[in-house]
């Protein structure tokens, strides 16, 4: 099915997210921070990215901004999935080229629907 790059520094959360995606038949590539995610994205481009915002080394916004500069990431759907709610961060997300903003805790059905819809 689809290849999803799931980025989050919390292992529990990655397990939950990956579990829900794999159950639906998707392939999940995991990364622990933005830097690792960028490397994986370039090495092996996914169909869609779901990333946390607050992460060590390189955060979600920086990651998306960097990915958009690469040919592999130019038109890739990239969703932020975060507990943040601040408007300035959402504004920033839009500026760096995020496809959408989802709030944790996530709704598995919604995630699956979006993966389906955006790829």
């Amino acid at each position: 099915m689809k290849r999803v790059l799931a980025v989050d520094d919390t292992i529990t959360f990655r397990i939950m997210l990956a579990g829900c995606l794999k159950k639906a038949g998707h392939t999940v590539i995991e990364a622990e921070d933005g830097k690792q995610a960028l490397e994986k994205l370039l090495a092996d481009p996914p169909d869609i990215v779901i990333t946390d915002l607050n992460m060590p080394v390189m955060n979600g916004l920086e990651f998306i901004e960097a990915a958009r500069k690469e040919p592999e990431g130019r038109a890739l759907p990239m969703l932020l999935l975060t507990t943040e709610v601040a408007d300035h961060l959402k504004q920033r997300a839009r500026e760096v080229g995020a496809t959408g903003w989802l709030t944790k805790p996530f709704d598995p059905d919604q995630i699956l629907r979006l993966v389906d819809q955006l790829t």
Binding site: I11, T12, R74, D87, G97, D107
Partner: protein, 753 residues
């Protein structure tokens, strides 16, 4: 003495939730997902509405839902094969159910009986039974009458606006969606082609683009100067469409013209798209894409009325769905900000202020977040203390005190006496007694015990089911009772009491008790247990909570589809509680439900196992001690026990019980906890990380039920920690009989498999 009205209001809120669940299931089914869980959930949603409707004497609704339920039952038991047509009928039935509920609420001008009867006929035909109200000269596909009535409020508004009264082809209708991408639409990872392609699932019939084509040499591959107009001919629920379109609202202006959107706005009240809607409101705010003409409306709604100005007056109908006339300023404000469309506030404010639960929930959530932030602040500050300023120290301490007070006050808003559900029960018992020809009285006690509103709401359904069960299966016929030397009139005691951090609800009847022989043979017949299994009496009693299990000889209007006790168990578990049954043959049965007082906040102790963090409910902790190898012994069957102050306690090693792959830790600490039913248990961990208040997030609603875990929380540093459920954990590790018996195999969801 407007109690009855109040309960009705609660029931209707419940109905909306059930409708939402049903809609959810149906949309899964439409997409071809017919797994047992979905079908069961859909069945239960209908069944619950029927149950409540019965309690309030809403006969039309009872009749309709009974047929509906029969069809769903046929579907889940494979007597009826799933197909598109079946889905269509079910969708129509769900709409009709919604119309009937509205009618019962006194909203709208009633429903169309002919349509209801026709749908009932279709349902009955699918289920292979007789419809209670056969329609002569049935002409299935013609839906003119139905739509006319369903659109009643719309039609009214239209008439008021002096427009031609035209019935829309419902549920199939034309929806026009206009997408005007912002210049960075594609740079945000969107693609108009994918947009159109994805819309096809709803049945796109026409796509047109408009706008200026740039000259070929000036074309930017990632710019989209074009706008798109897609016309759907579809029966999609407005909410579904809305949640589909939500993703595009950040990077494009999306306008929907849906003639049927009004009905959606009502039915959607409890739909799962709610979160999405909230997000949408925020997103719209942040991105400033909401059309300026109607800034106080949530985006999608704004789009509708927006489109309506250009189109026809019909979508004006969205207006009557708005909250009642004299709305207080605060309410208008909240509408402006959040866009919560649920729970039609039909009851005028009197002495007390009625506030939508939504809003309190938001408050509770925010307070929860503040608690977390406060914890982080306090922690960071304590590390700086050496350089600390005495005034700042005082301020931080004051803050922590005030936050706690704030939290208590907020929780107090949500507390309600259980009376709200308890006093509905005599009616249930009375009606049921009459229809079963039994003589039963109910004795209530502890009605003033206060519990969180959410718990109260969720309690009514399991309680009703349990009462029914007791009356149908427990209490004997009057003559039989006299023969056994019991009073003619059976008695059911319903009581509530606080037990530490939890509330305990007891339902005791003086009936025949559980017929274990019959339960066991039925269970074997149904393949629930293997014929050669040896079960203890308690285990046999617990079988009645197994999904699909029923000993009733025939399906009655009352109970006996085996849905009841299964629902009870699921419901109670979802609330973080437990249900147990104790039967005394010949003397009666006692059900005990224990529930947490609140679903939102918990005083917890954070413990560490390797890299992982878990939370133990603070109230259950007796003591933490250093592990002494000499005090440990192993019982036959690899059950480790620990000597603790002269008694032997079953011991759980978290790393093993949860199969953690985290780095090996010291495992040098043992936390002794007290459980409600199983006495004390020793839990082996690596470290204690301190007490804190944690904000509970349900795993079940966001992920799935996990054995041994009652929920999750977000810690001060943003990490997720799971909250442990000790009795369930004990069952999992095989360290003793958990509340549901401990013989289950490993990580199985249920001991009975």
């Amino acid at each position: 003495m407007d109690e009855m009205e109040e309960f009705l209001t609660i029931f209707f809120q419940e109905c909306e939730e059930r409708l939402g669940e049903l809609a959810d299931c149906l949309s899964q089914m439409v997409e071809g997902d017919f797994d047992a869980e979905t079908l069961n959930a859909a069945f239960r949603a209908v069944h619950s509405v029927k149950g409540g409707a019965g309690a309030f004497g809403l006969d039309d609704l009872v009749e309709f839902t009974h047929v509906f339920e029969t069809t769903m039952d046929a579907l889940r038991s494979d007597k009826l094969e799933a197909s598109d047509r079946v889905c269509q009928v079910l969708l129509r039935a769900s709409d009709m159910m919604s119309a009937l509920i509205e009618d019962a609420q006194g909203n709208g001008d009633g429903f169309d009986r002919t349509t209801a009867d026709r749908i009932m006929g279709e349902l009955a035909e699918l289920a292979g039974v007789e419809s209670p109200r056969p329609v002569p000269g049935d002409d299935a596909p013609a839906q003119q009458t139905s739509s006319k009535k369903k659109d009643e409020p719309a039609a009214e508004a239209a008439a008021a606006a002096d427009a031609p009264l035209e019935a829309e082809g419902e549920p199939e209708r034309d929806i026009v969606i206009t997408l005007k991408p912002a210049s960075d639409f594609m740079r945000a990872g969107h693609d108009p082609l994918k947009f159109v392609r994805a819309l096809k699932r709803f049945g796109a019939v026409a796509v047109e683009s408009f706008g200026d084509h740039p000259a070929v040499d000036a074309m930017e591959p990632l710019e989209t100067p074009l706008s798109w107009k897609v016309t759907l001919s579809s029966d999609v629920a407005p909410t579904e469409l809305e949640s589909f379109l939500f993703m595009y609202t950040l990077a494009a202006e999306v306008v929907v013209d849906d003639p049927f959107a009004k009905a959606g706005a009502d039915a959607a009240a409890a739909a799962p798209a709610e979160d999405v809607k909230d997000d949408e409101g925020d997103a719209a705010e942040a991105a400033q894409t909401a059309p300026a003409e109607a800034p106080q409306e949530p985006e999608a709604k704004a789009s509708e009325s927006d489109a309506s100005e250009a189109e026809a007056p019909k979508p004006e109908a969205a207006k009557p769905a708005e909250p009642a006339p004299a709305k207080p300023a605060a309410k208008a404000k909240a509408d402006e900000e959040g866009g919560s469309k649920s729970a039609p506030p039909k009851v005028a404010a009197s002495k007390a202020l009625r506030v939508e639960l939504n809003r309190i929930d938001r408050l509770v959530n925010m307070v929860g977040e503040i608690v977390i932030t406060q914890a982080v602040l306090a922690q960071n500050f304590s590390e700086l203390e050496a350089h600390g300023d005495i005034q700042v120290t005082h301020a931080v301490e004051a803050l922590s005190r005030q936050v706690r007070e704030l939290q208590e006050s907020v929780m107090a808003i949500r507390a309600q006496p259980v009376k709200a559900v308890f006093s509905r029960m005599p009616r249930v018992v009375r009606d049921l007694a009459a229809s079963l020809n039994k003589d039963v009285r109910i004795v209530l006690s502890g009605e003033h015990t206060e519990v969180d509103t959410t718990v109260i709401e969720e309690l009514s359904e399991p309680l009703t089911h349990m009462l029914r069960n007791s009356m149908d299966h427990g209490i004997e016929m009057p003559d039989a009772r006299v023969e056994k030397g019991k009073p003619r009139t059976g008695t059911i005691n319903l009581s509530a009491e606080h037990r530490g951090e939890r509330v305990r609800i007891l339902i005791t009847d003086d009936g025949a008790g559980i017929n274990r022989e019959r339960v066991l043979s039925k269970a074997i017949e149904k393949g629930v247990v293997s014929p050669d299994a040896t079960l203890s009496d308690e285990e046999i009693d617990m079988l009645i909570f197994h999904p699909g299990f029923s000993t009733a000889a025939q399906v009655t209007n009352v109970s006996g589809r085996g849905v009841g006790m299964d629902v009870v168990k699921k419901k109670v578990q979802a609330l973080g509680g437990r249900v147990t049954v104790t039967s005394f043959p010949g003397e009666g049965t006692r059900f005990v439900i224990t529930l947490p007082l609140t679903l939102a906040v918990l005083d917890g102790m954070t413990v560490g196992v390797g890299q992982e963090r878990f939370v133990l409910p603070l109230g259950s902790i007796v003591e933490a001690v250093k592990l002494d190898e000499k005090s440990i012994d192993v019982l036959p069957g690899e059950v480790p026990v620990m000597r603790y102050r002269g008694e032997w306690l079953p011991m759980i090693n978290l790393r093993q019980a949860l199969n953690l792959e985290t780095a090996q830790g010291s495992g040098e600490l043992v936390v002794v906890v007290e459980t409600e039913n199983e006495g004390r248990v020793a839990i082996q961990v690596d470290e204690l990380l301190g007490q804190r208040q944690v904000v509970l997030k349900s795993l079940e609603t966001n992920f799935q039920r996990v054995d041994g875990v009652s929920g999750a929380t977000i810690l001060g540093d943003g990490r997720v920690a799971l909250i442990l459920d000790i009795p369930a954990l004990q069952a999992l590790s095989g360290g003793g009989a958990g509340a549901f018996g401990g013989s289950g195999a490993g990580a199985g969801q249920d001991m009975f498999f």
